[in-house]
């Protein structure tokens, strides 16, 4: 009975209100679900890749710089117990597809015992295919790649490997037995051909081990380690997947945290709606209480309403999220490709547990949102409702209590912001941001008072009266108005904080590129349509550059992996003497780049990037011991440089030292500094001529390079624009919900105003003024708190997530947000304004006489 009276019938009478709230929850759940599904698709694809490509191998032997095939001899003692398979696994660019393809180089004679690849050929065809693969440039391609390229057996296709175009022939097409997506765009080649293509003669990326007998893997691994030099690592095949998964999960965490923002706005929306409905039904609650309804019965009715909103919104959100996941996949594809090379998200699969998670998220978010309105409802004594003719506003808290609560929340935010990351993730900093956002609930009331207290003296009496009446209406419905302002405030705060973070990041990147990329020309491998580049440049190209410009003007940057204290890091090699002349990356301590590189070159020292220094807590002057294929290299740190190109720790040593430890697989990029008297464009033309079309590389000038960096940057942060739109949408929904409720409740009051002579225009303006004031109050609060949250994101979250210290910059674009949010609130006021116009003056007088 209570349920019917308090919830079911009012909901049926005003289905739009319920639908709007459900939609708010659905949008929040949908953004979380689509983000999770997209990143899980990446993880699942990666997992399937490793599992499928690894086949039946159980252990892998690897080493930064590759496994030297001559060391296979040392493994002879275990040959009877285990099958050893050398593997090269790389990526190449397909100019036809504009995308990366993967190449797996294996020993064809023994590999069939490991992997479930069946060539689509029989008898003589199969024999011919094998011959072509073993003795010529024949490769087997997956069925899906053959289809994408539109060619079949016997036909040739081009790839760009190490900046050179190579032509391969399809010897056979294979159909994977399992994990179709894992073998998408896959090329199977003989290991010798792969070594030749990648200039990796005498080495392979890893040696896979399949035990022939039921052996203890731990013991086998120990035996293998005992047979090989100590620089080799023996790990289960799944270790590579774990590393990739760790990187994708870190990305997932950040994306989910961003998507979680919309859930937060959804919570405020549900809270706003429930608070409105509680205040609207306060008389009914009071009446039911005086008729004997217990507090728990009232609470049950409100929680059932919240739960129902959450369940329906959650279910709808899961459906929307599933649909939206496809587009989310494309937005995370590029990012995933850059952090875990060669991995792209596969097919989106909605598992029942994810659906359940989404629905639970909606349900619990709604129940959480119901807590404050519930408290207000339970505080309603029976007498209050009966005494009043109209719903009364709930009295605001005394300002002292409000100030104490505000101080408490800010104190908690400061405390959590000062805590170190939890499991390498800025969880406490995000909790701090939540506390800061929750201060908006405390600030909204006073802000409404301020907005309602400003007298529009500069306006004519005719126009001012609409605003004055709107202010009076907001004062009368302070609690509900405060809820709506909070919803707007949270949206604005999120938009402002994200804009501040992105703006600060952008400014830091712009400044950084200006200092870190001073070269006049920049050579890099061809990139995919999405901007991802893979592989290296043919070492011969470095020679061409040196011949053209001189050794003092060319800085080839090489990079490979190494271990530091057992962890995988990046080890770079750069021409320190060249950089010392021309300048390079900026250093954290502000020392001139030339000075640090000159010192590093002179003392055979290293420079490390900021993420490395932060993660391993090292500083200039400390000594590092880096585990390389040539053994441990000890280097003093000459300086810590700012690095926004990645968040993996990187150590850079002098190129000549690097090349002693690693084979020359070619540089990742080449920076060219022009001698003072040379013209840029003619120098580029001369260099391109010198390359004589033999290489497929991009040669960018400095302006193009910086533009490219910014283009990638903008693309990476495009997702924040979508989240800002979602936030604004939910804020507008909150304004519509609250204003509609206020108008419905004040029909008689509005009718009285009409009787007193207000025109329809004045009534319309009155409601729009309310929307404007709600928007203004929310925006003021949101702007203030948003900047503080932005500061936490820039100085704490970024630092803990990526190890990047950024300069806090307030971008001018935050004012664009204000120019969007307030008109959005006015727009949201249109529907209630038109509703108000339908108020007939006669509703003010009782038609009972």
């Amino acid at each position: 009975m209570i349920l019917r009276s308090l919830w079911l019938r009012p909901t049926l009478a005003q289905p739009t209100r319920a639908l709007i709230t459900v939609l708010g929850v659905a949008i929040g759940v949908a953004s979380v679900v689509s983000t999770l599904l997209a990143s899980r698709a990446a993880i699942a694809s990666m997992s399937a890749d490793v599992q499928s490509v690894a086949g039946e191998s159980r252990l892998e032997i690897s080493r930064p710089g590759g496994f030297e095939t001559s060391d296979l001899e040392a493994l002879r003692p275990i040959c009877t117990e285990a099958l050893l398979a050398p593997v090269i696994e790389r990526t190449a660019l397909s100019p036809d597809l504009g995308d990366l393809v993967r190449i797996l180089g294996v020993d064809l004679l023994i590999d069939q015992e490991l992997r479930s690849i069946r060539l689509d050929a029989t008898g003589n065809e199969l024999e011919a295919a094998r011959n072509s693969m073993l003795h010529a440039s024949g490769v087997a391609v997956s069925e899906s790649l053959s289809k994408d390229l539109g060619i079949g057996v016997g036909e040739e296709f081009e790839l760009v490997i190490r900046s050179r175009k190579v032509t391969l022939q399809i010897a056979a097409v294979f159909k994977p037995e399992r994990f179709d997506s894992a073998w998408d765009r896959f090329i199977l080649a003989d290991v010798a051909l792969a070594q030749e293509l990648y200039g990796f003669e005498g080495r392979v990326d890893r040696v896979e081990i399949k035990p022939r007998l039921e052996l203890n893997l731990q013991q086998l691994a120990s035996r293998v380690e005992g047979l090989l030099p100590p620089t080799y690592q023996v790990q289960p095949a799944s270790a590579r997947r774990d590393e990739g998964e760790r990187l994708v999960r870190a990305l997932e965490f950040n994306l989910t945290a961003l998507a979680g923002v919309s859930i937060l706005v959804g919570i405020v929306l549900v809270a706003t709606t429930l608070a409105t409905s509680v205040v609207q039904r306060q008389n009914q609650i009071a009446l039911l209480r005086s008729l004997g309804a217990s507090r728990s019965q009232i609470a049950r009715a409100i929680l059932v309403e919240a739960g129902a909103i959450g369940l329906v919104g959650g279910s709808l959100g899961v459906a929307l999220g599933w649909i939206g996941a496809d587009s989310a996949v494309s937005s995370v594809r590029a990012t995933v490709a850059t952090i875990a090379e060669g991995v792209t998200p596969g097919i989106i699969r909605l598992k029942w547990e994810w659906a359940l998670t989404g629905i639970s998220l909606g349900f619990f978010a709604s129940i959480f949102a119901a807590l404050l309105p519930l408290r207000e409802a339970l505080r309603t004594p029976p007498i209050q409702g009966l005494r009043s003719q109209h719903p009364q506003s709930i009295a605001g808290r005394p300002w002292k209590m409000r100030a104490a609560l505000f101080a408490l929340l800010v104190g908690a935010a400061a405390f959590f912001a000062s805590l170190p990351p939890l499991a390498d993730r800025p969880i406490w900093a995000l909790v701090s941001a939540l506390f800061l956002l929750s201060t908006l609930l405390v600030l909204a009331g006073p802000l409404i008072d301020i907005c309602a207290g400003i007298r529009p003296r500069f306006m004519g009496a005719g126009a001012a009266i609409s605003i004055r009446l709107a202010q009076a209406a907001l004062e009368a419905s302070r609690t509900r108005a405060a809820w709506a302002a909070s919803a707007v405030g949270v949206s604005v705060a999120l938009a402002v904080s994200m804009t501040t973070m992105v703006g600060s990041f952008r400014q830091s990147v712009v400044d950084w590129t200006a200092q870190a990329m001073p070269s006049d020309l920049y050579v890099r491998p061809l990139t995919t349509v999405g901007g991802a580049s893979a592989g290296t440049i043919d070492p011969a190209l470095t020679e061409v550059a040196i011949d053209t410009f001189g050794a003092d003007f060319v800085d080839p940057f090489h990079q490979s992996s190494a271990h530091y204290k057992g962890n995988l890091i990046l080890l770079g090699g750069a021409a320190f003497t060249v950089v010392a002349q021309h300048g390079g990356v900026p250093f954290l301590d502000g020392r001139p780049s030339r000075e640090v590189f000159a010192e590093a070159a002179e003392r055979s020292a290293a420079v490390v990037n900021e993420p490395f220094a932060r993660r391993y807590k090292v500083k200039a002057g400390d000594t590092l011991s880096i585990d390389t294929p040539a053994g441990f290299i000890e280097r003093e740190i000459a300086g810590v440089y700012r690095d926004y190109s990645g968040h993996i720790g990187r150590v850079v040593i002098a190129l000549e030292d690097y090349l002693k430890a690693y084979p020359n697989e070619g540089p990742k990029s080449i920076a060219i500094f022009l001698p003072p008297d040379q013209d840029l464009e003619s120098s580029r033309a001369n260099f391109m001529q010198a390359l004589a079309g033999a290489y497929s590389v991009e040669v960018l000038n400095n302006r193009e390079l910086r533009a490219e960096v910014l283009r990638i940057f903008e693309g990476t942060f495009a997702v924040t624009i979508a989240l800002q739109i979602i936030s604004s949408l939910v804020a507008a929904i909150a304004v519509i919900a609250v204003l509609s409720a206020l108008i419905r409740e004040r029909r008689r009051e509005l009718a009285v105003v009409r009787v007193l002579g207000a025109s329809r225009t004045q009534l319309f303006n009155l409601v729009l003024s309310e929307a404007f004031l709600l928007g203004l109050a929310g925006t003021l609060g949101g702007l203030f708190i948003g900047l503080i949250v932005g500061y936490v994101l820039v100085t704490v979250v970024n630092l803990q997530s990526f190890g990047w210290s950024l300069d806090f910059v307030i971008p001018g674009s935050i004012f664009m947000i204000l120019m969007i949010v307030i008109p959005a609130c006015l727009l949201a006021g249109l529907a209630p304004a038109f509703m108000a116009l339908r108020t007939a003056p006669r509703e003010s007088l009782h038609a009972n006489g």
Partner: protein
């Protein structure tokens, strides 16, 4: 939404004859579910300038409907309604708004003050809606209703009687040609009721406005120049 022209004919068209409102064969029907209710049946009524007319009759007899029609709040379905020289059945909605704003004052049974406007602001509301400000006039009326010291108070800080005084001042602030009052003493105790009624009569006399008052109270009716009795939407008779 029809915009209101600032100086419509209303402003320039004072009532030329002695009556402020004339109703002839007025009908007003409502639908309640599937049933059509005849709220007013062939009502003829004339309100003279400065006259006090009491509308009496049992609940549901059509008093409020008649007040709605007279005060340009509702339109009749049939007959002729001339108020302050305007044919209310034929003028645009914007003209009705202007009429209410400038020529008619209304006092409600339950006061109907704006809860978050002060007494002073509530009284000045009709002027403000017309783009005017006349603090002297508002203060004068506040004094007249004995609330000069309460000008900054909100309705919730005033007693029922005080709230109705504010409502009376509001109804008269723009010097209307006539005032309609729907049971103005209905929510007050008898002494407050008497006081309010006396005040209403007195001020409207000073202002020269006609007053149409719907009431159940015989004492209120006895103070009117004329009593019009209604039953089932029809005028049964009138006596002075």
């Amino acid at each position: 939404m029809t915009p209101i022209s600032s100086d419509s004919l209303l402003a320039a068209a004072p009532t030329r004859n002695s009556s402020v409102a004339t109703l002839q064969s007025v009908q007003r029907n409502y639908r309640r579910g599937k049933v059509t209710v005849q709220a007013l049946k062939d009502v003829d009524l004339c309100i003279e300038r400065g006259e006090v007319v009491a509308l009496t009759g049992p609940s549901g007899c059509g008093k409020s409907t008649l007040l709605n029609v007279l005060s340009a709040v509702d339109r009749a379905d049939g007959g002729d309604v001339m108020v302050c020289g305007l044919d209310l059945r034929r003028v645009a909605e914007s003209e009705l708004t202007l009429l209410r704003r400038r020529k008619i004052g209304v006092v409600f049974q339950d006061f109907q003050l704006m809860p978050n406007l002060t007494a002073e602001e509530n009284i000045g509301l009709p002027l403000a809606l017309d783009g005017q400000q006349d603090s002297d006039r508002v203060l004068h009326l506040l004094e007249r209703v004995g609330l000069a010291r309460r000008l900054g108070h909100y309705p919730s800080e005033l007693s029922g009687g005080e709230q109705q005084r504010v409502a009376v001042a509001r109804a008269l602030v723009h010097r209307p040609e006539f005032v309609v009052a729907d049971e103005p003493t209905g929510n007050l105790d008898s002494s407050n009721g008497k006081e309010i009624l006396a005040m209403l009569m007195e001020i409207r006399l000073e202002e020269g406005a006609a007053l149409v008052i719907a009431t159940h109270d015989k004492e209120v009716a006895s103070r009117a120049d004329r009593v019009v009795r209604l039953r089932d939407g029809q005028v049964l008779g009138a006596h002075s």
